[in-house]
């Protein structure tokens, strides 16, 4: 398993410059898909996969050494767990009537505007954010673990 000169190093100047320009735009577009999940096509899963695309572009074009400086294993693991717990907590809010009852839309203080605005549709925006965070951190952790295989010390 030899390592030709592309394993820990980056991919050249042209690729790095284009990646620096494109990664923030992909991030903003993915955040738009996640946040407006109840108004336009999209939602939690699609937006999370799009933001993970930005992370993968960073890993491929800047190399493994640069990625190891910015990747914190315990932080991403904790964020994935927090995403799952917020999703379950939002489902348990209406536990007085039923398990998945949409209490924030029927008689709640905050998320019951006119249908069509950003602050509407009960617990749907909260769940979209939780699932988007979970998918994004999970995919980046899995692909960094594949790239880091047997190269923990180099």
């Amino acid at each position: 398993m030899t390592c030709r000169p592309r394993c820990g190093s980056d991919m050249g100047l042209i690729v790095k410059t284009s990646a620096r320009a494109i990664i923030p735009l992909i991030g903003i577009f993915g955040a738009y898909i996640v946040m407006h999940g109840h108004l336009t096509p999209g939602g939690g899963f699609q937006g999370g996969a799009t933001i993970a695309g930005a992370g993968i572009l960073f890993l491929v074009s800047f190399g493994l050494d640069e990625m190891k400086k910015h990747y914190n294993k315990s932080l991403y693991s904790a964020l994935e767990g927090i995403g799952g717990l917020v999703f379950l907590g939002a489902a348990m809010l209406g536990m007085g009537v039923a398990f998945f009852y949409n209490i924030l839309w029927h008689n709640g203080p905050f998320f019951n505007g006119k249908p069509g605005t950003l602050l509407s549709a009960g617990f749907l925006p909260i769940m979209n954010l939780a699932v988007g965070l979970k998918v994004f951190t999970g995919l980046i952790s899995a692909l960094t673990a594949i790239a880091l295989y047997r190269r923990w010390k180099s």
């Binding site: 999940g37 109840h38 336009t40 998945f100 019951n112 549709a121 749907l124 979209n128 995919l139 673990a145």
Partner: protein, 98 residues
């Protein structure tokens, strides 16, 4: 011997599936008008009552997070378990000092 039996059964499965794709006695593509109200009444209920009961304009997100939220909880659990298993398999093992 076993290989020819496997390929013959594959041909048989393909024959049965192509027989199903005939619209006269099988799957019908695109019901319309009265047939849609009698064959797909669940979709009709979600379209006409989704905006008032849940409040989201995107009916697909409505279904995924409110009408069928149990399936989304199961899917989130499968995602978490698979990522945890894949990362646990790619860690340094005990007799591995290279």
């Amino acid at each position: 011997m076993k290989r020819t039996l496997a390929y013959l059964s594959l041909f048989f499965i393909l024959g049965v599936l192509l027989y199903i794709a005939n619209p006269n006695y099988g799957l019908v593509f695109g019901p319309g008008g009265k047939e849609w109200l009698s064959l797909r009444y669940t979709d009709n209920y979600y379209i006409t009552h989704g905006l008032k009961e849940v409040g989201g304009m995107n009916i697909v997100t409505d279904i995924v997070f409110d009408y069928r939220g149990y399936d989304t909880i199961g899917e989130a659990t499968v995602l978490f378990t698979a990522i945890a298993g894949a990362i646990a398999l790619l860690r340094p093992w005990r007799g591995d000092e290279s």
